[in-house]
Amino acid sequence: MTDNQIITPVIVHLFTAILQLVFWRKTVTQRILSITGCLIGFALSLNLFTKVLQGGILTMNAANWQPPFGIVFVADLLSSTLVLLTSVSALAVCIFSATGIARSRMLYGYFPIFHFLVMGLNGAFLTGDIFNQYVWFEVIIIASFVLLTLGGRKAQLEGAVKYMALNILASTFFLTGIALLYGITGTLNMADLSQKVPLVKDQSMVNLISVFFLTGFGIKAAVFPLYFWLPSSYHTPPSAVAAIFGGLLTKVGLYALFRFFTLVIVPDNTIRIILMGMAVLTILTGAFGAIIKNNIRRLFSYLIVCHIGFIIGGLGTYSKVAFAGAIFYLIHDIMVKTNMFLIAGLIRQLRGTMDMDRLGGLYAGYPKISLLIAIVLFSLTGVPPLSGFWPKILLFSAAFDTSNYAFIGSLVLGSFITLYVVARMWSKVFWKSAPEDPPPANNFDLLSPLKKTSLVLPVCILASSSLFIGLNAEFIARVADTISNEMIDTTPYIKAVLGK
């Protein structure tokens, strides 16, 4: 059934961005509009999520063209969950940006571009057409180029060049894959592709296409050996931008991998082994990279890479339990990773640096903020009963079911190294006494109470989402279980889209 509600999380950010263009250079109005838009977006996506949770898959045929000919938007539980998480992160980041982004960046359109980016993310999650998904990816990339380079410092441009080169390469692979897929099946609708791909006589062509999509999405998701653009670009932009990038941009690549390799093409053993190998190496390289980093944001960038490996491993294991674990981890990861970069921004406001050797004594100076940050770090490392703990159990049990000891080993190692680097960061940044020379630059205490709130409130929002995920693990596990059912048995999706 056609239901316009699906598209509302996309539309609301479009209209917010346009309204902000009208108020170009009026930064106060833009801030108010941005927070209002994100609040409305959050309400709409929460509404969509509950509707899908209770009533099942919703679809909308754009321009009233019947699938498989027109573009169809589909909200199944995976899409609507991710849209909901996106809007929570977007809300937190836009509140943080109100103080955390310099006025000079706002004058050059930070907020409109931010909303175009969120619009692109929501669109990419909701579309049911593979070419349309490419278009949404382009929207995301263009918006992220602007956000990455806004400000024009030398380090930013250097990071942006790497980011842009790799992402354009990824898009080319993605587009070539689409062209080949269209060539052999004659359709672009994902549900229709799901039915037509198994009928293709030349299955070696299908494998070739899988590799194209694996490379394209793999670069975007930052998996081994294609991840190096991420640590070299994520530490350059302002923290609010890094937060939305770290929390969501790589996750779109993951979402696309999951959608493609469960719905469109069911991977054969070779692809599964490749996925598994990539996962193990991603975990190891990410974890070892994180050990040697002394800058908080560089450390977090490597942790992103490490934990993407956990999720890819869930896809590579290709069982119901593994999917549930990977999706649970994805839900947890979006909240925590967005929050970690916001925390890095907060620490920078408190001390004027992100270098661990020059930091220290935060616990003595700000005990309440430190305890808040501690909750997030505990969730990240997976201390029970917080959010990182539950998905790991599912992933472990899936790996034991398939006797995949390489994955188990790397999961254990990845978790321990995460624990180690986070503990090291905690002792260096919070417990160790601050170095005397040079004296810490403190911007935070000079800010007005409203501005202080706008820096701390987003961390609170995301930390309480993490707590909610951890303490309501039963509910989240049920959602993840339903999603993994949808991935294993795609007939309800196909029936909802094509009506047969």
């Binding site: 316009n4 539309i11 209209f15 346009i18 309204l19 263009l21 170009w24 909308m60 754009a62 009233n64």
Partner: protein
């Protein structure tokens, strides 16, 4: 570049090119043309004028900053996209009036979408070119 011939010609060419761009815009839905091409032709008209008379004079006849055309165009396009929702149709469904209007022809949401594209293209092209030419002088 000061050239009397170009200045005289551009004075006549500006309205003609603008009319032609509107013709392309209106023709767009079923025939070659449309908002994008129309917008490019319209911006060429202003660029030609700025070559002959200088960017400052062209800014004067435009009255509004080209930048302000971008939100206006985007707004018109987004509204025309969203309008069908009020009639209970899916987003972007084409709504048409029953009788063709004289000269303009069939009017529907697609025309307003094209109009939005037209304004965005003019806004973007002129903003980019004027920014470059004002900075190089």
């Amino acid at each position: 570049m000061k050239s009397t011939i170009l200045q005289a010609a551009s004075r006549y060419l500006l309205p003609i090119l603008l009319l032609f761009s509107i013709f392309l815009l209106l023709r767009g839905h079923y025939y070659p043309g449309g908002g994008f091409v129309g917008g490019l032709v319209a911006s060429i008209a202003f660029v030609l004028h700025s070559f002959a008379h200088g960017t400052d004079n062209t800014m004067k006849i435009l009255r509004y900053k080209p930048l302000s055309l971008i939100p206006a165009g985007l707004g018109i396009a987004a509204l025309s996209m969203f309008l069908p929702v009020l009639f209970g149709q899916p987003v972007m469904t084409g709504l048409w009036i029953n009788q063709p209007l004289p000269v303009i022809g069939m009017v529907g949401t697609a025309l307003f979408f094209d109009l939005g594209v037209y304004l965005v293209v003019v806004g973007v092209v002129l903003t980019i070119l004027f920014t470059i030419s004002l900075n190089t002088h």
